[in-house]
């Protein structure tokens, strides 16, 4: 068994959290509240060290007075607590929105739309090795059919009849396969978290797993 006090604390807290699987109890409540308190304390220290100190204190100590402008803008958020002046809070919100849209819209369109449309097209390289499971023609055609049919399922401006109905029904199968893959991955993720804790409890704590 481990002789490290911190390993013991972590192990006992893990067991306290696991105890909820049986039923709600004071040990679980204690661990839950401790976690909340610790997280808040951690965030405050982190925000001071990595944010306020580096982006406000250092620049001002170096007489970079321009820092005061965004700082003043940010402080306008505090007018949220002054009912008569709370409209001033809209100024930093407007600046943030404008900035965010300005820098994200062009790159998002490029990365999400143009590149993805390009990736859906069948290209000449696919003919070189049609049966390649990653970049072959067959997979390329499957991607095209999948995209067109799935998009057609979400086309609600016309009643799904005739060819549109067939296409939409094929589309829903593609969507279901996607959900299945996501579910499989999700199960693996949740099991991995349990495995991580068991490796800690039976490895680092009681040394049963080598």
């Amino acid at each position: 068994m481990s002789t490290d006090i911190w390993v013991w604390i972590a192990a006992l807290l893990s067991l306290a959290i696991f105890s909820y699987l049986y039923r709600d109890n004071p040990f679980f409540r204690f661990a839950e509240h401790l976690f909340t308190g610790l997280s808040v304390g951690y965030m405050i220290v982190l925000m001071w060290n990595n944010y306020a100190y580096q982006y406000i204190v250092i620049p001002i100590s170096q007489h970079r007075w321009i820092t005061l402008i965004p700082m003043a803008l940010g402080m306008l958020y505090l007018f949220r607590f002054v009912p008569k002046l709370q409209h001033l809070m809209l100024i930093p919100i407007a600046v943030s929105l404008g900035l965010w849209n300005g820098w994200s819209i062009p790159v998002t369109i490029e990365a999400d739309l143009f590149k993805q449309i390009q990736g859906t097209m069948v290209n000449t390289a696919m003919f070189q090795n049609p049966w390649d499971v990653h970049h072959g023609l067959v997979v390329g055609l499957l991607v095209v059919v999948g995209v067109v049919c799935t998009v057609s399922y979400f086309y609600f401006s016309r009643e799904h009849r005739g060819p549109l109905k067939v296409s939409a029904q094929i589309g829903i199968w593609f969507v279901m396969v996607g959900f299945g893959a996501s579910f499989g991955y999700t199960v693996m993720a949740r099991m991995s978290l349990l495995i991580g804790r068991l490796q800690f409890l039976f490895g680092e704590w009681i040394h049963l797993i080598r």
Binding site: M43, I58, S104, A111, S182, M188, M191, L193, G196, I209
Partner: protein, 297 residues
């Protein structure tokens, strides 16, 4: 006969869920106690990532490793971080660590410290120079601001990261003298349980053309396949399986002596999945049997 079986399975559907928790616990723990390490089929995204990192010139452009995750997903992502760091340090690739997630700060520091200590032990045994902070690796901790920091680093990393995690000014770190912006970064590896790799693609790859690799929790991994197909991501490690594959690759290439936690965990993943499949089948049979019984009445 079938109806009786259906009735029994129908009862199973009403089983106290704590019995299922116990079964899952046993199906996960027992394989962990047996130290089997089956060989894995390596997925293409994992191999592509390994090949890319393996092609980085030793002592050349740095790899930026971003610990964009919190402790709740650490079991999946910690093994990836260790495997990538071992690969880089064994090859002499400089590493710049940072985090876009608040709690990734402490995780990143702990993992880098652990791997550096272990690599230095190997190096001393072989009479090689040990890894030195500021020369071979550096760590900048949590960077609040997300996309702003990603954009700012494309213009000037020294302005975006004015001081490291230990409050040393960036200009005082010798390895950072050759790193001005993304042109001096070989690849950004984002390890995340959320959509941080997507942000890196949008703000770093699309705008500045720097290569991006992802290490994602299994929940998030399927979301990245469109970006793998278009080449916006060089490669990806998906969940515990991706970590186990990378561990296998670095061992096969001779960069590390033995496989680690993720490889050992894969048996437990397989057995627990098998149990869940069986439970799903039983649950469905029970459901349909009880429905048919209801209809007969």
């Amino acid at each position: 006969m079938m109806i009786r079986l259906g009735t029994n399975l129908g009862k199973l559907a009403r089983l106290d869920r704590r019995w299922i928790f116990l079964l899952i616990f046993l199906a996960t723990l027992l394989p962990l106690l047996v130290s089997l390490e089956p060989k894995h089929f390596i997925d293409e995204p994992t191999r592509n990532l390994f090949n890319y990192i393996d092609g980085i010139e030793p002592g050349g452009r740095a790899l930026m490793l971003s610990f964009d995750y919190d402790p709740q997903v650490a079991p999946e992502l910690d093994p990836m971080a260790r495997a990538i760091l071992r690969h880089c340090f064994a090859r002499g690739v400089p590493v710049i660590g940072l985090s876009m997630a608040p709690q990734g700060d402490a995780i990143g520091e702990a993992i880098i410290t652990q791997v550096v200590r272990e690599q230095n032990r190997f190096r001393r045994q072989r009479n090689q120079d040990t890894l030195r902070y500021g020369y071979d690796y550096s760590f900048f901790g949590f960077r609040p601001g997300g996309s702003i920091v990603m954009l700012m680093m494309g213009q000037d990393i020294h302005r975006a990261l004015p001081a490291d995690n230990y409050k040393h000014q960036v200009d005082s770190l010798p390895m950072m003298a050759r790193v001005r912006n993304y042109d001096d970064i070989s690849i950004i590896m984002s390890l995340a349980g959320s959509s941080y790799p997507y942000s890196w693609i949008i703000f770093a790859n699309t705008k500045f053309k720097v290569k991006i690799g992802a290490g994602q929790t299994a929940v998030m991994a399927p979301d990245n396949y469109p970006f793998l197909q278009t080449g916006q991501l060089v490669g990806q490690l998906g969940g515990m399986k991706g970590a186990a594959e990378y561990e296998q690759l670095i061992v096969e290439a001779g960069y590390y002596p033995k496989r680690d936690m993720a490889s050992k965990a894969m048996n437990a993943v397989s057995f627990s999945h098998l149990l869940i499949i069986i439970l799903i089948i039983i649950g469905n049979i029970g459901y349909f049997a009880s429905r048919r019984q209801g209809g007969n009445r």
